[in-house]
Amino acid sequence: MSFLDIENATKSYGAARVLNETNISVEEGEFLVLVGPSGCGKSTLLNMIAGLETVTSGEIRIRGKRMNEVKPAERNIAMVFQSYALYPNMTVRGNISFGMEMQGVPKPEREKKIAEVADLLQIKPFLDRKPGQLSGGQRQRVAMGRALTRDPDLFLFDEPLSNLDAKLRVDMRTEIKKLHQKLGTTIVYVTHDQIEALTLSTRIAVMFGGDVQQLGTPDEIYNNPVNMFVAGFMGSPSMNLLAATLRQGADGMEVELARPDASKVRLPFSAATTQADLSDMDGREVVFGIRPEALTDSEGATPASQAIHYADILVDVVEPAGSDTFVTVTLGGKDAIGRLRANAKAVAGKTFTFAFDMEKAMLFDPETQQRIA
């Protein structure tokens, strides 16, 4: 029994199924992020945990207790909404105290609690203002303050940072992480931003099309995606996914990629790279996946890697970005992005010698989109 168990939970609206059978277990103190593009079912799942949506079939348990029929208010959860959902007619103080009032918390205790969270979130100066008079960041704090007063077993966040500007978003992200470290409360957090997912979570559930595609630690999700969707969704710039063919080479299997001029690049893909047995796959069409940081210049390649391979490719575009330089080439009929050191000598229109870190490369089945190796 974990802290939060989601067991075979599904959700349908009439004939339309928006969430397929889902199984997730969350341990106490974990920070689980549900990430995926809009319409993937992540918000529905969160609302089901909150009790704002019914569970069509399956079960949701908190501390082993079935929650399906329990009212939201009795689940001992707190939730922070994307739009903050601050009551516009109440002051900040009223907003924070409303929930406690509903739970029948006596007034002095409420006051004490308000003072506590106001201190914690530095919102004391605005306690008597109305939400309309606050900035986005301030509203965000108030929304969190409101959630905090509940001393909940479980915190639910529904895209809480998506309405903030880029800088504020980074700041608030850090604050949420701090808060989690300080309070140790279990959190389920929904976002469509994969960076938020990677930075905040202890575990991530990547969702798409009403299914959990992969559930794992940030490291597993990033480095060992189970399919093309997870591989492509996580990371920025996202992983290059290029059409390729497997060929039997001299020292084992090789991956063959087409250059724009129809000549081929061949990269060994052998024992050093993968445990998978590819021996009888000669001539098979695959999708070759390599992250931009594994497609670099010779000095930029990880020295520890056992499988650096080089190839000359024509450079299309060079984009210096300060600490790095991003280079676009055409490979396997598609744009591929490489991440070079800032001072790498790549020039648009000329060929450049790229280092492929094949330890970090992977292969997918173009039909099933699942990972082959």
Binding site: Y13, G51, L52, E53, T54, E69, K71, P72
Partner: protein
């Protein structure tokens, strides 16, 4: 706001809370069932009966309908309703929206102007009809005033003209209700999030584009309210016609509402009155139901 109506609260379960919403709705449903639909059925029955001064239950088939369609007053009434309805609803909606938008520009004396636009609703047409009658009367009203001021060629005698009198009713009706329509739109405008507008402005939208592309589409529910209210007023326009022209000159400004009232109560031909009510209801169904259908279904997604 893509998901405003997205089955939000299918949530609280168990016990009273589960059927509380339906419980709350049920008195209204019961009242509507009896006092709208029940009475419509009753009227349908009457329209096939030989009811005269009071309801009677002897059926006479389609006699009332055939009589109804032979009456010139009825065909005049329906034509008038068409002219009046289209002009009145159209002008009120456009004017109401325009005034609401203008009034939403942080106007200094908003409260005062709003009240000025609204007040015609407050006055009973029993009396304002007299004032309008005077204003429109060429002998003492606008035309006379213009003549006094030296514009002797000015002519405005629609109210005395059989072909134009219906338009004077439009003028007075617009005067009475457009302020309220303005208020409906104003409420809608005030419900729209300001930040979104700022965002659109930052995006470089011109004021015109801002309203056309962003604001007005969000006023759809307000349009629905306005339309229903206006259609209701158009169909039920009774006081107005009685006070202003009393159906005249001749019977040129007869309207279905005055016709219905006249036959049901004054002329003691309740059967014919009921038949005319049935035709009105069917017309309403034909016009309103498709609109409601598209509007409500559209909202559901």
């Amino acid at each position: 706001m893509p998901s405003s109506l997205h089955n939000p609260g299918k949530s609280i379960r168990g016990g009273v809370q589960d059927f509380l919403p339906r419980l709350v709705l049920s008195p209204t449903i019961a009242l509507t069932l009896v006092f709208t639909y029940g009475f419509i059925l009753f009227t349908t029955y009457l329209s096939f009966s030989n009811s005269g001064m009071l309801p009677s239950y002897d059926l006479v088939g389609w006699a009332n309908y055939t009589r109804l369609f032979k009456l010139r007053a009825w065909s005049i009434a329906t034509t008038n309703l068409l002219i009046f309805g289209v002009l009145y609803i159209g002008i009120c909606a456009v004017l109401g929206l325009l005034l609401a938008i203008l009034l939403d520009q942080r106007i200094r004396a908003e409260g005062f102007i709003r009240t000025v636009y609204l007040y015609p609703m407050a006055l009973s047409f029993i009396v304002t009809g007299v004032a309008w009658k005077w204003i429109l009367d060429p002998g003492i009203g606008l035309e006379a005033v213009m003549h006094d001021w030296g514009f002797t060629s000015f002519q405005f005698r629609w109210i005395k003209d059989r072909d134009m009198a219906i338009y004077t009713i439009v003028i007075a009706a617009v005067w009475q209700t457009s302020g309220f329509v303005m208020a409906t739109f104003l409420a809608g405008l005030r419900g729209i999030d300001r930040e979104m507008l700022h965002a659109a402005e930052v995006d470089g939208a011109s004021t015109f584009a801002l309203y056309r592309r962003i604001v007005i589409p969000q006023l759809r529910p307000a349009f629905l309210s306005a339309f229903v209210v206006l259609a209701h007023m158009a169909i039920k326009s009774y006081d107005l016609v009685i006070a202003l022209t009393n159906g005249g000159p001749g019977i040129s400004t007869e309207m279905p509402a005055t016709f219905m009232y006249s036959y049901t109560f004054t002329r003691n031909q309740m059967g014919v009155g009921a038949a005319s009510a049935e035709i009105m209801l069917l017309t309403i169904v034909a016009i309103i139901v498709p609109y409601l259908w598209s509007e409500l279904r559209g909202n559901k997604q």
